[in-house]
Symmetry: C2
Subunit: 325 residues, 2 copies
């Protein structure tokens, strides 16, 4: 392969800010327990000030996948917008420390860097408050056609459809990719997105080479209740469908080809955050390194198993070493 | 369908004899806990005498499937040998009470009717002691070509390979079926059989229209460790493969066609005995009633869910009603 990057990823550049709190904190600050709520900048600043000894780690679904790809030894490039502020600088440093190329220019003005303020209660529940900020400002001007042409694949997170400019940029990136033989991978990201963009995502399928979806997302996309109906619907499309089913493992289909790969063993499931992100990392590594579909699925399962065995959405060990690559 | 029977089944005619015992009973009588042990007639008589207040119910894998088919409303015919003794008469009566036709002539001489002496300890464990007796004597003369020609399908249990005469009879039945357009269904029955008959079963695949196997049996057949390898191996064969994976549901494949059907919900799993037998019943019902493969799988899953929700290997309610047929 003579292309510079294995994968260029497009996603929200978000810093996770975690703090241990008591349940009373949730009541005092009116935080809904165990779910994700979108918040504005004012409230983000308020909560940030209320957090004591917060821990900041770079997050974001696609960015997590890129970190996983780097851990596997792939050459990754991430595109996503931060602001030139403290969190933005931290995100950049963290992204680059993983070995991923990251050159999207930070914004000098406008909303602050996106953050997800996560209140972790003693029972281990994570109550998330997401401020999308600068990540929403990623736009057409940030799409670098040369990078796309120099990548084996691009990978786009469905979450971007919630940001009109980033969606427009994503569609432009897909068009460019199709013009230069770069494969297009997309993740449905969240079942709730189907409520808002189901028809758009269905139309998009014709432009995709690889679709990532967990079972709930895929059922919501086709508005069906049985997984078998999802399987049949996706086999009829001209793409690779990589469907994850938690402890039931994953199913990979490309027309006549169908594979079922078991979940990799995990001694103790600690935190399922990032399982889908890391599955995508393993799968995309395999796909950009000439592996068969079943092998891609096994690598995805392995990466997912690593990340759910500890807190946090990014690998804690070298996936390259873990996979014996 | 103008044929008289939907399915003619060939299997061991066994009466299950269950008794509640204390753990001390297992020690006194040298019974291995929780497993199945083959025993001879003398020991069967000894244990039978030692059982207090035993409960007798007709059993046998294929016979259980035939009972399930009858409960679904199918027209079934069972072939298997008992002796004309008390247990044999009980087996005949029980089989016929389910609505299944059963005309194999009982033996007037030779070994007694097969029985499985099951010692149930207070912890719910079942320690099985099987005496194959008269069931082993099922032979060529018991294969009725007219019945085979008048059935949509025959169904044979792999257990019969442990009885040379019954195996010879089964092979003859398969040959007859192939000569008159009757479909041939076969179950691998038990992973341990692969140790003894793996090569024979592999050769047999070419003569089968439908293969039933649970995951362990199928992996043992092809000597592979990953389920995906089983799937690929069976898709390359010219048959319908119905593979059960316990709580992971079932996978049905016929060449290009692949379906994944979830396990049907069960409030509480009480006793998994008979799950595979009843899955086969549901599946064969669907197949002999012009249903699609996914629908056959769903019916199998439903029948299996019913039988594991209570003690015993045969349905306790009308499966026809449960399935809304």
């Amino acid at each position: 392969m003579s292309r510079k990057y294995d994968v260029t990823g497009f996603g929200s550049a978000i810093v996770d800010v975690l703090a241990a709190v008591e349940d009373q904190f949730l009541l005092t600050h009116n935080i809904a327990k165990g779910v994700m709520t979108l918040i504005d900048e004012h409230r983000a600043a308020q909560l940030y000030d209320a957090f004591s000894a917060p821990r900041e780690v770079a997050g974001g679904s696609c960015a997590n996948t890129m970190a996983g790809l780097a851990s596997l030894g792939a050459r990754g490039n991430f595109a996503g917008r931060v602001k030139r502020d403290r969190l933005g600088t931290a995100f950049e440093a963290s992204m680059r420390s993983t070995g991923v190329t990251y050159t999207t220019a930070p914004a000098d003005a406008g909303p602050s860097t996106a953050c997800c303020l996560i209140a972790v209660t003693p029972d281990g529940e994570r109550s998330m408050n997401t401020y999308l900020g600068a990540a929403r400002e990623f736009g057409l001007a940030d799409v670098k056609d040369d990078d796309i042409a120099d990548s084996q694949a691009i990978y786009i997170e469905g979450y971007l459809w919630d940001a009109p400019l980033a969606k427009e940029a994503s569609l432009a990136a897909i068009k460019t990719a199709k013009g230069c033989g770069t494969k297009v991978a997309f993740t449905l990201s969240d079942p709730f997105l189907m409520g808002r963009y189901r028809d758009e995502f269905l139309s998009l399928l014709g432009d995709l080479d690889i679709l990532f979806a967990n079972e709930e997302e895929a059922k919501a996309l086709f508005a069906v209740e049985a997984f078998d109906d999802v399987l049949q619907a996706l086999r009829a499309r001209n793409l690779i469908a990589a469907m994850t089913r938690s402890e039931k493992g994953c199913v990979i289909a490309r027309g006549a080809e169908v594979h079922m790969v078991d979940a990799a063993p995990v001694a103790r499931v600690v935190d399922t955050t990032g399982a889908g992100d890391q599955f995508a990392a393993g799968f995309l590594y395999g796909l950009t390194h000439d592996m068969g579909l079943a092998e891609c699925g096994r690598l995805g399962a392995l990466a997912a198993a690593e990340v759910i065995s500890h807190y946090g959405a990014r690998p804690e060990v070298s996936l390259k070493q873990l996979a014996g690559l």
